[in-house]
């Protein structure tokens, strides 16, 4: 159970692991960064000492360590074999190098550890797992990516799994997990079409996730039905949850639409119409479950009683309001900035 200073230390090493990994010159350095990152996240997961965190950290450790060892194996093999140089035309080489990284990032066919791990964590760690922990493997993938059938299948699978898996979930963590899987699919396609577009996508996705997670953390929500019950008192929070979740889903007036827009446009120019259609259709399904999260609290169980009006309700933290206002107006603002020339 780490105390505050330990947390600071671990966060520092976690970040430096990511930085080592994405800025290293060799595969070995990348592997080392990933290991540092993993080993500093595992103690952070043990926020409370109970079976949930234990199970989650154990699962995470096994999966990540396995993936790391596979990666090390591939790296050593590529050092031994002349034919296994990176960026060679061999399809299997690509697949072999990418598989452990995809497993680490929780991209769809290798995503099975992700919901289980998320379920045992608190919201802070969930946020780190959904955003920071993905950045290193995804950057490593982006260094050696090619537009081939394997990656397109990965994209389609993760988009579909992310959309369909979240449909009958009641746990907010699971829903966020599947949404993360779905967004990772979009990031992969951003990687295929343009080099640094996925960074934009990742940044905006992280910010939107941060918004949603901060709100549900403040209001201590874990399940969908709690959203309807606990938000009765606070209309502002209700509104903030609704807009930030729709923004995460990528509804046009909000910020979340902007990266999707960019990706769709880039895919259109790269003749990836079928994949793009698939992704857009699946994002409709994600919007369905996003909307279902807030629908009942906003539309059906909307209750305003007199004694609740009299109470000081405005206890919403300022950073949530700030983040939500960014996610509402971000699309328009970024468009304005881009059109300034």
């Amino acid at each position: 159970m780490p105390n505050n200073s330990t947390k600071i230390l671990l966060l520092t090493t976690l970040t430096s692991g990511i930085l080592i990994s994405i800025s290293s010159n060799s595969w070995f350095g990348a592997w080392m960064g990933l290991e540092i990152n993993l080993l500093s996240f595992i103690p952070m997961m043990m926020e409370k000492k109970n079976i949930y965190t234990t199970e989650a950290s154990l699962k995470y450790f096994i999966v990540q360590a396995g993936a790391s060892s596979m990666l090390l194996f591939m790296v050593m093999m590529s050092a031994m074999e002349e034919s296994m140089l990176i960026n060679s035309d061999n399809l299997y080489t690509q697949m072999l190098m990418n598989t452990p990284l995809l497993l680490k990032g929780g991209v769809a066919p290798m995503h099975w550890w992700f919901p289980g791990v998320m379920e045992g964590l608190n919201w802070n760690n969930c946020l780190i797992l959904m955003t920071l922990q993905k950045s290193a493997p995804l950057s490593l993938i982006s260094y050696q990516i090619n537009n081939d059938m394997f990656l397109e299948m990965i994209i389609v699978t993760s988009v579909m799994i992310g959309a369909i898996g979240g449909l009958n979930q009641t746990s907010l963590r699971k829903i966020m997990t599947y949404s993360s899987i779905n967004h990772t699919g979009w990031m992969m396609s951003a990687m295929i079409t343009g080099n640094d577009m996925w960074v934009t996508y990742f940044t905006i996705y992280s910010m939107l996730t941060l918004t949603v997670v901060s709100i549900v953390k403040t209001t201590k929500l874990s399940f969908v039905n709690q959203m309807a019950m606990t938000e009765k008192k606070n209309k502002l929070t209700k509104f903030l949850v609704f807009t930030s979740i729709l923004s995460l889903g990528g509804l046009p007036p909000f910020l979340g639409f902007m990266p999707k827009w960019m990706v769709i446009q880039a895919m259109m120019t790269n003749e990836m119409k079928t994949t793009a259609t698939m992704m857009v259709l699946m994002s409709v399904v994600t919007l369905y479950y996003y909307m279902r999260m807030t629908y009942s609290s906003l539309m059906m169980l909307h209750l305003e009683t007199k004694w609740l009006i009299a109470q000081p309700i405005n206890k919403t933290p300022k950073h949530i309001i700030l983040l939500t206002s960014i996610s509402i107006t971000g699309l328009m603002m970024s468009e304005m900035i881009m059109n300034l020339d």
């Binding site: 289980g116 369909i164 449909l167």
Partner: protein, 576 residues
């Protein structure tokens, strides 16, 4: 009497503007002036958006009549709607009605005509549903939808006027008459006018619109909604071709005859007067199609006067009857309400064309022009029978309402109710008596020359007297008397229900779309598209999500094993 109530304020304003436009109209008709006022709203590249207003004696006189009658109607409704909670809404609606009519009258431009036309349609809907019950809703919907047909026709004629490069129709009517585009435009305008003036296929809304408060009926039937169509026809009349004219003549003659006959079978006081309006509208449209638009306009003005008065009298009678409109319950009203009854008689006589009242100058002139022109026997018969029928239902109304015994309950309070109502009626009574001669001297500085043999020139009188006698004799019933309308039940049912027009052109038209809509909603909206759309997709995705959940139940080691197998396969294939 509260002088700053909304009714009084509106009354004074409307009266002022009415008298103003009258006097300006006098100047215009004497000096033969026409003024165009163009307001250049915006000019973009080469296209300019211009609001044009047309002031000539026709528009000014009509405007003056609209203002004058609406001022008296507003004054009248101060008593008639006394104590109504929504009197403000009512007066605002009436004022909006007048404004829409103003747009329509003053504009020589199809776009601004459409603006006024749509305003009339919308406000008339709001006024018809003023008393909020299901009957009113039905009637309002019928009115609105019938007038929407005219809207569509006007819109299409706007589209056709693109061919000329401008929507100011006054510039093109004469020069383009006979061209294909103008033929289309004039046909569409005639269609629009037929909906608004309730000519034959669209007649059923006019009696239904009686669901509105009676002051509104006085306004609608005299000078605003129904005459808008006639006014449009008068403005467009120089572009009509022969075939269109004869079509219009047939339709209007049939409308006139149908409604005159129907009024003789009707027992609702408002509906009798509504049908008489329809008959007079037929007369106006008929004389437009016969080639005398000025005559039609003249009759439009005089008719506006006496029909407004007639409706006001009927409104007072209905008011004191405790909102009962059935004329079989009335009777002996002239003993209790001498002023109202005399107004009723004067306006009805003016309607019948009693010499030297307002209606005489116009309708007698029209009938003699009809006799003078070449006309087939059928048309002549329609015109003269309808004249006779007008007198017939008027005398029938006298018999039922004014004379005989009082037939409502034995406990009733009857008087010439309402100071303002009587004032409004008095104001109209004067112009009903003097208005016809005055207008004819103003509009026709050189009178029409009528040269007819004696038997033809007295035929109008003969037909009228015959009609009056028949109307009185036929409706005179005693206890135990044999009822001819029961003997001829089917034909009287046919004639009394406007030749089944409400059934044929309302239910008949809407039957197929309604049935088809039912089929569509049954087999598509809640059928196949629900199966493959909403519910089906939901089921499908839930099914997939269940599958995904089932996969997630598996042990972690199994998945790790799969990964190892996958890696091994890849290595194997790589070295192969």
């Amino acid at each position: 009497m509260n002088f700053i109530s909304i009714c009084f304020v509106s009354f004074f304003f409307l009266l002022f503007f009415g008298i103003l436009s009258f006097f300006v109209g006098f100047v215009f008709v004497v000096k033969d002036l026409v003024y165009f006022i163009e307001w250049d709203i915006i000019t973009l590249n080469s296209s300019s958006v211009v609001m044009t207003l047309l002031f000539d004696w026709m528009s000014l006189f009509f405007l003056g009549f609209v203002f004058f009658i609406s001022s008296l109607v507003v004054l009248y409704s101060d008593d008639y709607m006394h104590g109504d909670l929504n009197i403000y809404r009512f007066i605002y609606l009436v004022l909006l009605f007048v404004v829409s009519m103003m747009f329509l009258i003053l504009s020589p431009n199809l776009i601004s005509i459409l603006l006024g036309w749509d305003g009339l349609g919308l406000v008339s809907y709001c006024l018809v549903i003023y008393y909020q019950n299901f009957k009113s809703y039905g009637a309002g919907m019928l009115t609105a939808l019938s007038n929407r047909v005219g809207d569509v026709a006007l819109l299409m004629s706007i589209a056709w006027m693109f061919n000329f490069g401008s929507w100011n129709y006054v510039y093109y009517l004469f020069f383009m008459s006979g061209s294909m585009e103008m033929n289309f435009i004039s046909f569409l305008v005639v269609l629009a006018a037929m909906t608004s003036s309730a000519q034959i296929p669209f007649s059923s809304w006019l009696p239904a619109a009686m669901a509105a408060p009676t002051p509104v009926s006085a306004l609608v039937h005299s000078s605003t909604l129904v005459t808008a169509g006639v006014y449009l026809l008068i403005r467009f009349s120089c572009s009509f071709g022969d075939s269109l004219n004869s079509f219009l003549l047939l339709v209007s003659g049939l409308t006139m005859f149908m409604s005159g006959l129907g009024a003789n079978f009707e027992f609702d006081l408002s509906s009798v007067i509504a049908l008489s309006t329809l008959s007079q509208l037929g007369l106006m449209v008929g004389i437009v199609s016969f080639g005398f638009p000025e005559l039609a306009f003249f009759h439009l003005l005089t008719h506006a006067l006496f029909k407004a008065l007639l409706f006001m009298c009927a409104g007072v009678v209905i008011h004191v009857m405790g909102d009962s409109q059935d004329i079989r319950f009335m009777g002996g009203v002239s003993f209790f309400m001498p002023f109202t009854s005399s107004c009723l008689v004067v306006s009805s006589f003016a309607l019948c064309g009693m010499p030297f009242l307002a209606g005489f100058y116009s309708s007698d002139l029209i009938l003699e022009m009809v006799l003078l022109g070449y006309f087939n026997f059928f048309g002549l018969l329609l015109f003269f029978l309808s004249t006779g029928l007008t007198v017939c239902y008027s005398f029938r109304l006298f018999y039922y309402v004014l004379f005989g015994d009082f037939n409502l309950s034995s406990f009733c309070s009857f008087e010439d109710a309402g100071n303002n109502m009587c004032t409004g009626m008095l104001g109209l009574l004067v112009v009903v008596i003097f208005g016809g001669s005055m207008l004819s001297w103003l509009i026709f500085p050189t009178p029409f020359v009528i040269c007819l043999p004696f038997y033809l020139s007295t035929s109008v009188l003969l037909v009228s007297i015959l009609g009056g006698w028949l109307g009185y004799e036929l409706s005179k019933v005693d206890l135990g008397e044999f009822l001819f309308s029961m003997f001829l039940y089917k034909s009287s049912f046919f004639f009394g229900s406007m030749w089944f027009m409400p059934y044929v052109f309302v239910y008949g038209v809407s039957l197929f779309p309604l049935n088809y809509g039912y089929v569509i909603i049954k087999s598509f909206d809640s059928g196949w598209s629900e199966f493959f759309g909403g519910q089906g997709l939901f089921w499908f995705f839930s099914f997939l999500a269940k599958g995904n959940q089932w996969l997630q139940y598996g042990s972690l080691s199994v998945y790790m094993f799969f990964i190892v197998v996958w890696i091994n396969l890849l290595v194997f294939f790589m070295f192969m």
